[in-house]
Amino acid sequence: MSALSLNRPADDPRIAGRASPRRATRRASDQLFAAVPALWLFVFFIAPLGFTVAFSFGHADFGGVRLGFTLDNYAKALSGFYLEAFLRTIRFAVTGCALCLAVAYPTAYFIARHAGRFRQVALLLVLVPYFTSFLIRVMSWQILLARGGPIEAVLNTLHLHVGPLDVLDTQTAVFIGLVYAYLPIAIIPLYVVLERIPATLVEASRDLGASSWQTFVHVILPLSRPGIATTVLLTGVPMLGELVIPSLLGGDKGVLMGQAISSQYIDSQNYALGSAMAVLVLLAIAVMVALLARLTRGFAEVSA
C-alpha cells in the first residue's frame, strides 16, 4: 500500500508541502466521521455509565445509593459465588459462539459463493424470520420443544428419538435457542467478507494445482478472518450478558452474569453491588476483547 501511495504526487508530503484542498476535505470528513458518533455515544451512553462507576464505590441503600467511597462492593463482587458465575458465563459464551460460527460459516459460504443470482434472496430468507418478535420466537421454541410437542412427534416418526422429549429446561435447549437467536448476526459479517473474495483468486489457486479443500484452507479461510473476528465479537460478547434465553428455555438454572447483575439491581435493589459487578465484568471483557482485536490486527487489511 505504502509503495503505491508514494507514487502519487499529491499525497507525497515532500511535494504537497502545504495542505491541498483535497487533503483538507479528507481530513474534515475523517474528523466528522469520528466526532459525530463519539459525541452521540458520549451523551447517551458514556455519561450515564459514569453513574455506574460512581455507584460502584457508593454505599448500598435500598433502591438507591449513598455516594461515598468504599471498596466493600468490589470485595463482595469478587467473592466465590460471583467468580464462579463469571467463569461459568465465559464457558457458556465460548461454547455458544463456537456453535454459532460452526452453523453460520457454511451458510454464509453458500449464500456468498454458491447462490449466484439468488444471493440476495438467499440472504433475505435467512433474515426474514427476524422480522417477528424475538420473545415470541423463543416462546414458540418452548412450544416446539415441549414434551408431547411437535418436535417430539417429528423425531419419533423419524425414529431419531424414542419416547418423550425432555430437552426443554436443559442446557441443550438453551444452546439451541442461543444459536437460533444469534445466527443472523453471525452470518452477516461472514457473508460480507466472503462475498468480496474475488473468484479470480480461487481460480488462480486451482490453476496452481491446489485442491478445493486446500484452496479453502489456505486462501479463503485466511481472507475471511475479519469476518470471523467480527462474528466472534458480535455473538460471543453479547452472549456474556444474555439472560432471556437461559430463563425461558433453560428453566432459569445456573445463574449467569447477566442474571446475577440484573438480580442485584432489580431483585435486591442493590445498585452499588450491581454496579461493582458490572464494572468488573466490563474490565474483564474489555481485556479479552482487546486481546482478540490485537490478534486479528495482523489480518485486518484485506486488499485484492
Binding site: 500500500m1 503505491l4 502519487r8 483535497r22 470528513s29 466528522l32 466521521f33 469520528a34 458518533p37 463519539a38 452521540w40 455515544l41 447517551f44 451512553f45 458514556i46 455509565l49 453513574f51 455506574t52 451458510t107 453458500f110 438467499a122 440472504l123 433475505l124 430468507l125 435467512v126 433474515l127 426474514v128 427476524y130 422480522f131 417477528t132 418478535s133 424475538f134 420473545l135 415470541i136 420466537r137 423463543v138 416462546m139 414458540s140 412450544i143 416446539l144 408431547g148 410437542g149 411437535p150 445466527l183 452477516i188 460480507v192 478445493s212 475479519p226 467480527t230 465479537l233 458480535l234 453479547p238 440484573s262 432489580i266 450491581g274 458490572a278 465484568v281 476483547v289 482487546a290 485486518a300
Partner: protein, 273 residues
Amino acid sequence: MSRPALARPALALWYALVVAFLFAPILTSVIYSFNLGALNKQTSLFTGFTVDWYGAAWNNLQIRRAVWTSVVAAFWAALFAVLIGTALGFALVRHPNPNVRRLLAGLTYILLIVPETVIGVSLLLFYAVTAVPLSLATLIAGITPLAISVTALIVRAGVLTLDRRLEEAGADLGANRWQVLWYIVLPHLAPAVTAGALMSYVFSFDNLVVSTFLTTPSVNTLPVYLYGSLQYGPSPAVYAAATAVFAFTLLLVGLAGLFFRLIGKRRATLQSR
C-alpha cells in the same frame, strides 16, 4: 476432482436445513395464534382452532399501542444507527490517527460489552438527575447505542474489504472527498449498510431490558408487554399480534425490495444507452 461437485449440494442442503430451523418457530407462532388455548392462556398442545384472538388483539388497546410504539422506536433507532454507525464503522478503519481509531474501537466494543440492565438503570438515573422527562425520544436514545455498535462493526467488516485504489482513482479524476465517498465507497458498502440497517431495526424492535426501564404510561413496547405476560401466562392474542406485525413487516420489506429493483433496472437500462 469430485470435490467441487460434492461441495455445492452439501452446502445447499445445509442452507436448506438452516432455513427450516429458522422458520420453525415462526411457523409455530403463526399456527398457535389460532390456538384456542385454555382459560384464556396459551397452551403447548393445540386445543382447537379459532380466529378470535386476532380480534382480541386488535381490541386490546395495550397491545395495539405497544406494537405501534415498538415500530416507531425501532424505525428511528435504525435510522440513527445507520447514519451514525456507518460513519463510525468507516472511521474505525480509515481515520488517519491510530489513537483515535483505538479509542473509537474501544467505544464500539464497550457498547457490546455492557450488560443491558446496567445501561437501563444508568439511563433511568441519568434522566432523573438531569431532569429530562421520559418519553419516546429518551426510549429511542436509549436503544440506539447497541444498534450503532452492530452497524459499525458490520460496516467495518465491509470497509476492510474495500479497494482503496478505486477511491484514489476517483480522486485522480478530480472528484473531491465527498464525491468519492458518495459515488464510489457508499455503493460498495451498500450490502453492509443495508444489513446493518435491517439488524438495527430488528434488534431495536426486540429490545427488552433497556426498554423496561424507559417505558412510561404512554410509551410501552411490545417486548416489555410480552415479557410481563409470562408471569401469569401469555394469551394467544399476543401471538396473533406478533403474526400480524410479521406479515406487515414482510409486506413492507417486499414492497421496498420491489421498488429498489425497479429503480435498479431503470438505472441499468439508462446506463447501457
